[in-house]
Symmetry: C2
């Protein structure tokens, strides 16, 4: 047997073993239900990942909802884009980042108003995916009560998916979530002097 | 001074300090250029994050390109969705996961054909964002030469953004990247018996 064909053979054997493992795992996972995802950590990709899932859901003809907490004083590419679609219910909290306003009372009111929108989406069976972007930040500052959020998430429709993003997800939220990813910074262009770029961060 | 107003004051002071730090960092970051992002690690969110950036870029009216390596034997929500837009050049490698085909020679040919599409996008100044989804897997199996990929990424147009996803990003790719996120699994619904869900994974 020459080198090339023995390489092919080893490859086939390795892939057969891998396929067996993957097939077994897939056979074990046979439940369909709405999942709660939490995307946290300091790395880039939390919000953009939530918006990628929104695109996937739209590809399947689903109705979706978005509430952006904290962010919102500048218009972003995702907002401009997703507002085009009638299947998307899009809500942005009226104020900017909390260190821009420096006014706790105003921030609390804005967060509560955004949370009221979120609650309505989390009760609506027609909505297949709800994105709660940067909700973790509003929780961290105590603008919204954690217990209320946990309850609303747990009582949402059985087939509805929910995605919560933001640094510093509370332990109790991680506890009730189905899928949790911690996004870690390996490096970031911003540190090298590159400002936020359209199509990447904006 | 009562408790409430002293709380407000502390909040304002903390936020003023934070704003000073953030403003300073923003002032230091004044470069505009195309960035190379690598999204790696075992956690959920790598590909969806790349697709979220695609949505952002479309929100800014940019032309974008996608090449999906390895995946592609089943149609996904993102593909159904993004193929709707004339601003998106979408290419999917013809074969499924490598452990499905079990045929190295066929996989190499499919990967090379996909890479040819990627190279063309990476030379096209009109394309503002190029997503190379699961390219790291094709590199890991040696289907495409790493040196060729590094060279094409480094020689791309100065204002073009590129996003490479997939587990196990090679060290040399991380080295030349501007922004790198490692997505770590904290937990995953799949392990609890929930299969891949439309709008989330599919």
């Amino acid at each position: 047997m020459n080198d090339e064909s023995s390489r092919e053979l080893r490859h086939r054997e390795r892939m057969q073993r891998k396929k067996a493992v993957v097939d077994q795992a897939i056979a074990r996972a046979d439940v369909d239900r709405g999942v709660l995802l939490v995307l946290t950590g300091n790395g880039k990709g939390k919000s953009s990942s939530a918006f990628g899932m929104l695109a996937r859901a739209l590809g399947h003809g689903m109705q979706v909802g978005v509430v952006q907490f904290i962010k919102g004083s500048y218009s972003t590419g995702e907002e401009a884009f997703f507002r085009r679609f009638p299947e998307v219910s899009y809500h942005v909290m009226g104020e900017g980042f909390t260190w821009e306003t420096q006014d706790r009372e105003r921030d609390v009111q804005a967060a509560q108003a955004a949370w009221a929108q979120a609650r309505a989406l989390l009760r609506d069976e027609r909505v297949s995916l709800v994105v709660l972007d940067e909700l973790n930040i509003a929780l961290k500052y105590g603008y919204i009560a954690l217990e209320e959020v946990l309850e609303a998430l747990q009582q949402r429709p059985a087939m509805q998916h929910a995605v919560v993003t933001g640094r510093g997800a509370p332990a109790a939220l991680i506890e009730i979530a189905d899928t949790v990813t911690e996004m870690q910074v390996v490096k970031h262009a911003f540190k090298a002097g590159v400002r936020a770029q359209k199509g990447v961060e904006l």
